[in-house]
């Protein structure tokens, strides 16, 4: 009995010791200098064409994300330790300034350099959509689901997927598709060209031996009668034309969807686990803003860009028919965006509280005011509490840094840009379009307010020379003020400076201004500070806050050539 007891005690001590050492090891950071991360290698090197892989089954994908993966994350102690220490695993593909460099996944656009209204309207477009003046040859079709769809080749030889709005909801899916593609493109993602098209059904011609997924899910040859039947399930305009979305085939050879977790083993360029990619984690913030509740593998596409068997894989987001207020086959159900489709937490909470717990979404109106918009509200919208149909592993790994990065994408859109994008959706109801614009703006601002409060929103650091004495000053932009979320007057800033880890100045208050100069004291002391590293820590406090918030640290290095900003870190 005594031996058993002793063994138990030894086991407990051993466990405590291992945990303590682990925590100690992970917590040893010391007063080290900033080491810029290795540059992210370009992932567009010429490689052999990877094999095609089909989309995962919707059920298995959903079950996997909702249960298998959640269980795995729950039992990963290292994850819990990191989270407890507020040091979650950060995205891999970030530079010293926390930015994601251009890659086969993402191209810095609006947040990097604001696009003009013309550029944002064109979006990913290369033309004006399919040629509706001549015959469209149907080469593929699907009848299953509420709304049918075709793949056609127009007179120019371009391939388009033609998708329709649900009956009674003209503009619902098509508007969402067009707005989604333009906004995600402007943010930096690769997306297909989506156009609103109005066509005469008489231009449709059935191609030879068209395979067709009928209403029962059977793959068979399509007949004229099937086409006629499918056309009875779409809305006609008074002019006799049909409104639809024309989604152009993305360039390159299709390789199937990408997963939000892991890597593609047969693509040497794919060397970063997808759940640790900044642009996929940060996508959650965009998804929350636009209510993109269906961010799953099946709504992505990889294509091979290249010739003679050599090229690289480009990664696309596709299918925006279920964003904003559109649920694809009608307006989104009210719970979408607030709960997963099968949300164990919500189910348990409702069950044990005997239904007395009423989630906020239940207070949203059940009736749909604007059929072309569906259910898209800013009331009760919370950027961090947003949930998609099934959990997404990249979203699950979102950290404050990723959220801040994503919020910068969202906040990069001006009211004018959004107005132009909404106009491109050609909604039949102008009042509805105004409502959508207003909601987009409100949700955008809520997104910015949340993330810019959670992470220090000072950005765009640069060194400027003072004209009077030639000394260098560090300037920054307060993104919250620049976006109009906070006022200049309400902000107070203070800074501390360390040189090679030694504190030189501590907590100096700086006057409130949109662009605040922070005097860099060490600049004119070349003898002892050559090759020295300087850390400027800046904190912000708003009038409505009791104390200073989280810090941002800017690192400068003095070299023979002068002073350079070498990196930025933010408190998570």
């Amino acid at each position: 009995m005594n031996i058993k007891l002793k063994m138990q005690k030894i086991s407990i001590y051993l466990l405590i010791t291992v945990l303590s050492i682990t925590v100690f090891m992970t917590g040893c950071s010391g007063n080290r200098l900033f080491i810029p991360p290795l540059p992210v290698p370009d992932d567009r090197n010429p490689v052999d064409k990877p094999a095609y892989r089909s989309a995962p089954n919707d059920f298995t994908d959903g079950f996997n994300q909702q249960f298998v993966l959640q269980g795995e994350q729950f039992t990963d102690l290292s994850r819990h330790i990191r989270n407890a220490k507020s040091a979650p695993k950060e995205a891999y593909n970030v530079d010293a300034f926390g930015e994601a460099p251009n890659s086969s996944w993402f191209t810095n656009r609006n947040a990097h350099k604001r696009l003009s209204i013309e550029e944002i309207i064109i979006g990913p477009g290369t033309g004006g959509g399919p040629d509706t003046s001549s015959v469209w040859t149907i080469i593929q079709a699907k009848a299953e689901g509420v709304t049918p769809g075709f793949t056609i080749i127009d007179s120019r030889g371009d391939k388009y997927v033609i998708k329709f709005d649900p009956i009674g909801y003209a503009g619902l899916n098509s508007g969402a598709e067009v707005i989604g593609s333009k906004l995600f493109y402007a943010a930096g993602y690769n997306v297909p060209e989506n156009y609103i098209t109005h066509f005469d059904p008489n231009i449709l011609t059935l191609g030879a031996e068209v395979r067709f997924l009928d209403e029962m899910g059977r793959n068979r040859y399509m007949h004229e009668a099937d086409l006629m039947e499918m056309l009875t399930r779409v809305d006609y305009l008074p002019s006799g034309l049909i409104r639809a979305t024309a989604s152009k085939y993305v360039p390159g050879k299709p390789l199937g969807p990408f997963r939000y977790r892991g890597m593609r083993k047969d693509d040497p360029n794919d060397f970063i686990p997808h759940q640790h990619r900044r642009e996929l984690r940060g996508l959650r913030v965009m998804a929350a803003w636009l209510n993109h509740i269906d961010s799953k593998a099946a709504n992505t596409m990889d294509t091979f860009i290249g010739n003679d068997g050599k090229g690289y894989v480009r990664h696309y987001l596709i299918d925006f028919g279920t964003i904003l207020g559109s649920g694809g086959r009608g307006p989104q159900p009210t719970y979408r965006g607030y709960e997963n489709e099968l949300d164990p937490h919500a189910i348990l909470l409702r069950t044990i509280t005997l239904g007395l717990y009423t989630p906020k979404w239940e207070r949203l109106p059940s009736e749909v005011k604007y059929p072309c918009i569906g259910r898209y509200y800013s009331d009760f919208y919370h950027p961090q509490k947003f949930k998609i149909i099934f959990p997404n592993p990249a979203y699950d790994n979102l950290t404050s840094q990723d959220g801040f990065w994503g919020a910068k994408l969202v906040m990069s859109f001006t009211d004018e840009q959004l107005r132009a994008v909404v106009a491109e959706a050609q909604y039949p109801d102008l009042e509805a379009a105004e409502y959508l614009l207003k909601t987009l703006i409100e949700r955008r601002d809520k997104t910015g307010r949340y993330w810019f409060n959670r992470v220090n929103p000072l950005d765009d650091f640069r060194l400027i020379e003072r004209p009077d004495d030639g000394s260098l000053w560090l300037r920054f932009t307060d993104l919250a003020v620049a976006a109009g979320l906070e006022t200049e007057k309400s902000a107070s800033y203070r800074y501390s400076i360390r040189v090679n880890g030694v504190k030189i100045e501590s907590r100096h208050e700086v006057e409130s201004s949109n662009h605040i100069p922070v005097k860099v004291l060490a600049v004119n002391q070349p003898a002892e500070f050559n090759n020295a590293q300087m850390e400027v820590m800046i904190e912000v406090k708003r009038d409505h806050q009791k104390k200073y918030g989280k810090w941002v640290k800017v690192y400068l290095e003095k070299t023979d050539q002068g002073l350079d900003i070498i990196g930025v870190t933010r408190q998570g």
């Binding site: 945990l19 996997n64 249960f67 039992t75 083993k265 189910i347 409702r350 005997l354 239904g355």
Partner: protein, 436 residues
């Protein structure tokens, strides 16, 4: 035994360890796998997991390994079923493309497991008319039911519709505890009730929410000892002379008038409105003159929307069976308490007498919704009721029998898909399950 539990357990640990070690590398790409590009190699190497992460992640991964692969196995099976469209193929095989014909599984405590075949729109373009339904069900001890119904036929041009139902059922495990509200559980006895019946209904809808039915029916009944093991047969307690209808072939005809109100907002999970059935009729023996009675009944349900789809259902039901002068009521036709439809927590047929009163309060709240097309509700209920020989003179709320419980019900737009309920009464707990 070739492999004892200890060996299996140790093997599992070893397998878990090996697989966890390999799965730990899920997030990391080994340097050999990437191209010779040194910048990529260095970059990948800089993001390998640290030792402390590998160490601390191991126990959880090892524990989760068998669960993970069990879940994955289940997931793959579901995926295979979905990919192969097994459910769709079965559905395709059993149900017609246009939804006019189909087969559904059924289950109820009384009838057992079975199937329901339906064919809608027989010789008619409107699928909601001319409906044929065939039920076949059975369970242990030879319990069985066969029923054919023809619904919503319109033989006349004046809006009157007709329905016909033919049924045979043999219920060898019915229970009898005696007559009156003081019947004891110790008097539990088994009885077989065999019944063939035919019923024709003519109905009209004078208003959208009101329906009036005229019903004429015939049924043949026979009862004898029950077949259930461990339940003493009824003949051990009663002789045919003591219990009207026992071991006797009784043919009865009946004529009824029914008035139905239905203002529910939806059939599957109503949140507002009410439904009610008022019925009055006469039952008379045709192969003799011993049995004959009048029956009056009312059953009213009110659905009150409390807040956000939380619904309170209040039900009141009464039944009065009044023997015609000088005649009796067969014991199996008496009013009854103790089924899922009455007081949950008691066995079927627990209390029988001429009259019955019942009150139920049920609180339903949603726990899951899918597009407002399907949903799962949790429910709490309290049932109370009493059987008496005369509802007007003997009704006594102090001696009401009560049942409390909870349950889950899954609904679709068409109606209730299944329900599982557990009720607690003075007799203990009872579980109920019903499908389609």
């Amino acid at each position: 035994m070739l492999f004892d539990m200890k060996t299996i357990f140790l093997s599992l640990i070893v397998v878990s360890f090996l697989c966890s070690c390999s799965s730990l590398a899920d997030d990391n790409l080994t340097i050999d796998d990437v191209s010779a590009d040194s910048s990529i190699t260095r970059f990948v190497a800089s993001h390998q997991k640290s030792t402390w992460e590998v160490i601390t992640a191991f126990p959880g991964r090892a524990i989760y390994f068998p669960i993970k692969y069990a879940l994955k196995g289940f997931n793959s099976t579901i995926g295979w079923i979905d990919d192969e469209k097994i459910v769709q193929k079965i559905d395709d095989f059993l149900n017609s493309d246009d939804g006019r014909r189909g087969i559904r599984p059924t289950y109820s405590d009384q009838e057992g497991a079975g199937i329901k075949f339906y064919s809608k729109g027989l010789h008619h373009t409107d699928v909601d008319r001319n409906i044929l339904k065939v039920y076949l069900s059975g369970r242990e001890y030879g319990r069985q039911r066969y029923k054919i119904t023809l619904l919503d036929f319109h033989p006349f041009r004046n809006g009157i519709d007709a329905s016909l139902a033919l049924q045979y059922r043999k219920l060898p495990t019915e229970l009898f505890f005696g007559i009156g509200s003081d019947s004891k559980q110790s008097q539990r006895s088994g009885v077989t009730h065999e019944q063939s019946s035919a019923k024709i209904t003519l109905g009209v809808n004078p208003l959208e929410s009101i329906r009036i039915n005229a019903v004429a029916g015939y049924d043949f009944n026979y009862t004898c000892s029950g077949k259930e093991n461990n339940t003493p047969p009824i003949t051990d307690f009663y002789s045919p002379e003591e219990l009207p209808g026992l071991k006797e072939q009784v043919e009865m005809t009946h004529g009824l008038v029914e008035i139905l109100f239905d203002s529910k907002n939806r059939p599957g999970n109503p949140t507002r409105g009410f439904d009610a059935l008022f019925s009055s009729g006469i039952y008379q023996q045709t192969n003799g003159s011993e049995y004959g009675y009048l029956r009056y009944s009312a059953d009213i349900r009110k659905y009150i929307s409390l807040f956000f789809d939380r619904v309170l259902v209040i039900r009141m039901a009464v039944e009065r069976n009044d023997p015609l002068s000088g005649r009796n009521i067969p014991f199996y036709s008496l009013a009854e308490l103790g089924r899922i439809e009455t007081i949950r927590g008691f066995e079927r047929g627990r209390y029988r007498d001429q009259d019955m009163s019942l009150a139920t309060v049920e609180y339903r709240y949603p726990v899951w919704r899918n597009w407002d097309e399907h949903g799962v509700d949790f429910l709490l209920f309290a049932d109370a009721g009493q059987v008496t020989s005369d509802i007007f003179s003997e009704l006594d709320t102090d001696s009401f029998k009560t049942g409390l419980g909870f349950g889950i019900r899954m609904w679709s737009q068409e109606g209730l898909t299944f329900r599982i309920e557990a009720g607690r009464s003075d007799d203990g707990w009872r579980m109920y399950f019903a499908l389609n």
